[in-house]
Subunit: 462 residues, 2 copies
């Protein structure tokens, strides 16, 4: 989806100061295409030169499609008064997201220049915490009072809602109190006999959100019911806003990104990979890595506890890395599956016993397979590694192989069980289960794996 043709053309029009051409460019293409062309091939100042050719409403439509960091940059390069006009034209939710990114002082200055009604609306949305439905919703919805007929309702919408992007759902409110009575759709208004009362048509079994709900809930509900929008009501049942399908897709993508980043032990980044500041990315990654390093150092202490056993037979040293790595890998698999299943609502904390049994069986079945591989590898270990250091003889290869098979089996089961239980345990404790990331599980299993390793070895060999 790149638009290789527009860039050079726009460049030429800019050089020639071809106002008519630039206006045509801004008016004929989709705002997303225009925004993409400008961010790819032009700088902030040139983008303004292009945007200036069109009216403020189109400017706002294009502006909304710029990445938010680019929006912030653009604001720095133009007059406050112009920005205020632009903000008045932007979608209610997008402009609040933008103002959140500005320094409070700049945001405050801008707000003073925005007209009264918009300012009140922005302030109302601004008060909601990030990641809540309140911060995601827009107050720009289509509504009619309940005593109208279909044809009257359509007529009303023609006059009252021409700018509302989301007029496909029509909310039926009490005109005085704004209490939400029901929902109907533009489709039903058109398909029903003209003089049907809206009140007879509306759906009253409503799924409503609250401003304080997590935005993930909005995504889950909207995706489950295939709705285009969801109403957000306050404690008194008054409609305060709606959440629309396009914002929900963005939430789904962002949440998936955050889950992936947490599972990779990065910590969620707020921006595009190449745009995140070096310090932010260093801090988040180093924090995790240092924590894992310090935890991982416990393998040193664990091995120290078995120093005697470790040195009694050379071959033991060589099998440690692959054995504990296998535990980490099987644990990562389990943790990944369980975390995602929890995020999708397929598994809850109360399923822990079922999950544990399931993972125990899987761990056992996988461990047997890997155990066989361990036997094969043991058969080609050089003879001198199997000599006891104290001179008390050596150990037979097949004997050693059988012991290693049991080590691998035990570690594999340990890994799957830890990997499955950590996310569930985290959730139970109110910690985000996505933090039971693969490096976290791996490190945890590395340390415990050392104990399993030497416990099994001592049982049979030493």
């Amino acid at each position: 989806m790149s638009h290789p043709l527009f860039g050079p053309e726009v460049r030429m029009m800019l050089d020639e100061k071809n106002e008519v051409g630039l206006r045509a460019f801004c008016e004929s293409l989709h705002p997303a295409t225009i925004a993409e062309t400008l961010t790819d091939d032009f700088d902030v100042e040139e983008s303004w030169q292009v945007l200036e050719r069109t009216n403020i409403r189109d400017q706002a439509a294009i502006f909304e499609y710029f990445p938010i960091l680019w929006q912030v940059q653009m604001l720095e390069g133009t007059g406050r008064a112009h920005i205020a006009r632009l903000i008045e034209q932007m979608s209610h939710d997008d402009r609040v997201a933008l103002l959140r990114r500005l320094s409070p002082r700049v945001a405050e200055e801008l707000l003073r220049l925005v007209d009264e009604a918009d300012r009140r609306d922005i302030k109302a949305l601004f008060q909601h915490e990030e990641n809540t439905v309140g911060a995601l919703m827009t107050t720009d919805y289509a509504w009619v009072p309940q005593n109208l007929t279909c044809v009257e309702a359509i007529e009303r919408l023609r006059h009252s809602a021409p700018n509302s992007e989301s007029m496909y759902y029509v909310f039926i409110l009490d005109e005085a109190t704004r209490r939400l009575h029901g929902i109907t759709s533009l489709r039903d208004l058109i398909l029903s006999p003209r003089h049907t009362k809206v009140a007879d048509l509306m759906e009253t079994d409503l799924v409503t959100l609250r401003v304080t709900d997590d935005r993930e809930k909005a995504a889950e509900v909207l995706a489950r019911y295939d709705f285009l929008a969801l109403p957000v009501a306050d404690d008194h049942g008054r409609l305060v806003g709606i959440v629309t399908h396009d914002d929900v897709i963005d939430v789904v993508v962002q949440e998936a990104t955050e889950d992936l980043q947490k599972q990779g032990a990065v910590g969620a980044l707020t921006d595009n990979y190449l745009e995140v500041g070096f310090f932010e990315i260093w801090r988040k990654r180093t924090l995790w890595l240092s924590f894992l390093f310090l935890t991982g150092l416990l393998t040193f202490s664990a091995m120290e506890m078995f120093e005697g056993e470790l040195k009694s037979l050379d071959v033991l040293i060589f099998f440690i890395p692959v054995c504990i790595a296998t535990g980490g890998n099987s644990g990562t698999q389990a943790a990944t599956l369980i975390t995602r299943a929890m995020a999708l609502g397929q598994v809850t904390v109360s399923d822990w016993w079922r999950v544990l049994r399931h993972e125990f069986m899987i761990g056992l079945a996988m461990g047997v397979t890997l155990g066989l591989l361990a036997i094969v590898r043991s058969l080609i270990v050089p003879d001198h590694m199997l000599l006891f250091v104290d001179g008390s003889g050596s150990i037979a290869k097949w004997h050693f192989g059988l012991v290693m098979a049991q080590v691998v089996l035990a570690i594999c089961v340990l890994g799957t069980m830890i990997g499955a239980m950590l996310p569930l345990g985290f959730k139970r404790l109110g910690i985000d289960p996505a933090l039971a990331s693969s490096p976290f599980v791996t490190t945890f299993v590395d340390v415990t794996g050392i104990f399993v390793y030497f416990t099994v070895v001592k049982l049979y060999l030493l």
Copy 2:
């Protein structure tokens, strides 16, 4: 979003054979709510007893919200003729997805019972490969010819499209050839003066998909442009179907799940975690785990190559697990970030040099921090571990600490660079970059980390 109240009520109505109550239940609630209540608290046969109380259209609407495995089970429990009627009422895309899950023989038998027009439509959709736009699209769209006025178009839609779920976008076609001329929206038809020609209103700068496009492309385009639906055209510009916003949300969720599962080295599962067959899950996980185990065994061989160095100084053994684990962790972080950034289109293969420099700097910065921690840990190593085995004396703690700091630094940089380059390399080779999973990266870095470890150690100590 559980509905604890409906289950017992429906159970009572079933026991009392309360037909009126069951019909009211089916007709008054959202189909998704009904489907959820039934799958949670009832079995397949009971679900049929509930559904039977309502008309076939509502049955189909509810049926679509059952999980697909449950749909398959339900089909087994009822007569073919009834299923055929149900299929005729289902959404065009959902029913094809269902038929794909049935054995070809059963699907063929069912199709014979479905009426002619629906059968042709199903066959047309059925031919497209899974994960393509063709398999995702529906042929159930609203269209009008281009010579109508707005009021005529609305009138036409009232008659032709009452069942179409997606009549918010109206496609303007050549009546004879079905060539796509433009798109308008129900909203614009209503807001424009009544006698405006549709042709003057329509958007002709169209973003169209092809049936062979990857469904991820549909998701990306729809999310970027905030569309409700996208047209799918053939080589001759004829409209063959549309992809709607609700299917795209499902795609986004599924793709994120698959990416997470691949990154956890599981291999993408097709179903709900607790519903996947034991054998399928065992096979996918064991395959990966065995591959990683065999690769991990190379750490054995790598350590064998440094057997002399390894045994010359006791302390060396103890630092190996934590050092190679750190490489794996830093590599996992990098791989996670790059893979996701690629999936979101933020980074492409051509950015490799920029990514490499970036990760090199990050690796260096993180390595210095971890190196300091390594020095601290080295200072508390017991004295006897620092004695050379050949009796040639011992090594000073601070000296050993400085060497370990450099080992950790080098492995950290190695990890980030491998973690960053593997997904890009995979992509370049046409392999899914999500397969550069954290266990894969970890195992890869474990083996190479052994070499780095002993190379640095030999340089300074031996």
